[in-house]
Assembly symmetry: C2
Homo-oligomer: 263 residues x 2
């Protein structure tokens, strides 16, 4: 990397644990290649210290942005003066940046990264129907991003019925009449997304029944290991365009880089 | 540098302002070359936030050490559970590290860096007499380090008489009978050190009268720009061994590196 100096702009990635994160290397490399004198530094903040630590980080004049991973996405959103519409809906941020008036703006790029990954393959969701398996953090953010981007109708399924219903209620409030309960049957949907852990282990059942996929269905998965998942292999056999977890990550890195370095 | 990951050990350098610091580049390079997966990150902490920010930094599990520059050297010392003898005498630290029991140990390497720079040139101060011009932060730390290292007698001069007397009183308390007021006359001293700003500007008067220097006198200066200073040029003409501010800095970097990376 280019020389680290006292003028290097500092960006932080906070979470706990922190040893598993990959973004510091990726985004620092991207900054360096773009000639931007910046660094993304991984910092572990224990869960019970977020509310005392985060205001101190926000008060450091040479810190431009703070990326947020588990378990701090919800807590960090409460420290922002302003939130993007999707971050406000989700009540969770994974990125915040200092604004010119020294207040902090929060956004959530988890779902937007999935959308960007689709766009990078020439697949828009405007006017499309989308099926999402999984109503956790990733599924919530993806569902909001798809509806925000113009998907006409979204079906959602999660074996945890309470989680599924809570997300459906949230989507109904903000995008009335466009989200409904999914059945596992994906025939007729333009885009099918796995946002659940199913596919992580060899023994996992498929998150949706692949028999409903046609060659016109776009199929995406959040899982980055293994790549491709069994679902994506079934989709490829049927001639579908597929996007794996690394495409979502790449899309998200692209958006985070722009968010961090654009003033 | 090698890839930055979530496992990279984080070290911080705190101060305000921060844009002038050079240690992050130097020490990060040194870590990388030694195969130590670490980073020294410059962080600006505004003066009135030290007491709220520093405890949060100390609670970050992936932060191993914190280097300290102006104006936080005195304030940071109060957050350490344990201080080196010289840091305790000075009431100021420029480096603190996490100990195995998660408490923090503080030390002060400003004067030790000067000593290390002399040692690197084969010049010990054991049994020697030392003249120090300047009783500010650098002069204080250098005076303590010289007496700690075994200088038998030390003379100190500062045009600010209150500052001079305060440091002499401190030295008298900890090293009774070994420190006295200097007159500007350096004849008979083994080691002569400029720890004042004199020599920074072309128009500055010499900090000591060079006519008392002999070929056996070792002359050192804290000033890093210009190098050599007028004092060191006068000393060279007289055949003295000289050490400039960059040798002190190099000595200090060497000590800080060991302090930060040794567990």
């Amino acid at each position: 990397m280019t020389a680290l100096t006292g003028k290097t702009r500092i960006n932080l990635l906070i979470g706990s644990p922190i040893s598993q994160v990959l973004a510091p290397g990726w985004l620092t490399d991207r900054m360096q290649k773009a000639g931007y004198d910046g660094l993304l530094v991984p910092i572990q903040i224990l869960p019970d210290r977020l509310d005392t630590t985060l205001p101190e980080l926000m008060a450091m004049p040479n810190v431009d942005s703070i990326l947020v991973t588990l378990p701090h996405k919800f807590g960090a959103s409460r420290h922002c003066s302003e939130l993007s519409p999707r971050a406000a809906i989700l009540g969770a941020v994974n990125a915040m940046r200092r604004q010119s008036d020294n207040t902090w703006y929060g956004d959530n790029f988890d779902g937007a990264g999935m959308l960007q990954g689709l766009l990078n393959a020439g697949q828009d969701v405007v006017g499309k129907t989308v099926y999402v398996a999984g109503a956790g953090g990733a599924g919530s953010s993806i569902a909001v991003s798809m509806l925000e981007a113009g998907a006409t109708r979204l079906a959602l399924h999660d074996p945890d019925v309470d989680k599924q219903n809570a997300l459906l209620a949230l989507l109904e409030k903000h995008y009335p009449g466009r989200a409904s309960k999914g059945s596992g049957e994906v025939a007729g949907f333009d885009v099918v997304i796995n946002a659940s852990y199913a596919g992580f282990k060899e023994s996992d059942p498929l998150p949706v029944d692949p028999s409903g996929l046609s060659a016109l269905t776009v199929v995406a998965d959040v899982i980055t290991d293994p790549v491709p998942t069994k679902l994506l292999m079934e989709a490829s056999i049927r001639g579908c365009v597929t996007r794996d977890g690394t495409h979502m990550l790449e899309g998200q890195m692209q958006l985070l880089f722009d968010f961090m370095t654009t003033r």
